[in-house]
Subunit: 184 residues, 2 copies
Amino acid sequence: MAQKTSAKEAVLDAFERVVIDRGERAATLEAVAVEAGVSKGGLLYHFGAKKDLVEGLVSRLTGLAAADLENLTAAPDGIVSRFIRSSVVIGTPFDTTYIAMTRLAQSGLYPEANASLAGVEQGWRALIEEAVGDPAVARLVLLVGDGLYYNAALFPFDKLPTPAAELDDVIAAIEDLARSRTAG
Amino acid sequence: MAQKTSAKEAVLDAFERVVIDRGERAATLEAVAVEAGVSKGGLLYHFGAKKDLVEGLVSRLTGLAAADLENLTAAPDGIVSRFIRSSVVIGTPFDTTYIAMTRLAQSGLYPEANASLAGVEQGWRALIEEAVGDPAVARLVLLVGDGLYYNAALFPFDKLPTPAAELDDVIAAIEDLARSRTAG
DNA sequence: GTCTATACATGGATAGAC
DNA sequence: GTCTATCCATGTATAGAC
């Protein structure tokens, strides 16, 4: 019974992989079906139309984003550090679904995808603005997070302009800033 | 004679508009031709294949990026401010071509588009790293710029998480940081 | 230099067998 | 629940008239 939805989940996994590895346009029903190990007809039994595939991914992101927010809330002190580190794409389920969603959003075909991303961004903003006293610093933190996702969406992992290893200094700098402004 | 290439330029302009307004997938030869006010056949006289359109846009971005770098170099002092302000998408020719290129890059169909963006990013990095003493601050500045483009690529102008008007404080904060680190 | 007509391939989706 | 076969629409590209 716990596996009742596993076929659908497996198709969604395949959808994500194809979108990320080969782009939205390559994610045809045929390609996703092959990746999932089923036929086109088999896929269409679970998802009656392509837009249903996208909606399935939106639901998935909504759930993962809620968990992500809870995770951040659990670290009220080091929230800046945790947020920025969690913005580095390392292949977590959230990362994967999120990056796939940015691809779908940029295709211009699925307004729900854009709305979904706006919702995630808004959740982050509310949390960061509350945790960080200074509004300018909060905006800066959010922009850095967005910048990290942007890089992950455009460049291969091994060619990132800012490798994860070099991020400690950036985080330290922002925390310096936050301190000096709160203390000021 | 100065207008010898204007037909091609007009088609490229149309290509950019369709890619930005309706997405890469909507930018079919037919749609671009209509937007440019010519027939499909007429378009294909100038650009023999779709990849030629992309290559035309890559050339255009290369030229605009060189001008952008010169513009930044002309402000050795306020380079951080100028870079971040120039990363706000307000519809300049560079903005337009750059955002269109990010769409093409994410489609996964045109490796030249990704390479082109990597080149632009690299140009910025070299300049900022040299102008800003602290490497961590330099990376931070670049990430903020990327974050601004990311937002412009995903959200409509009137729904940006960080409106241009609220950017002054962010810039001031970064300049604070740069000063305190250089002085330290 | 720009057009129409057309060939060809591919993608989304339906129908119906198993 | 999954498959094959098929229909229809659309996109790229070519050929050739004007």
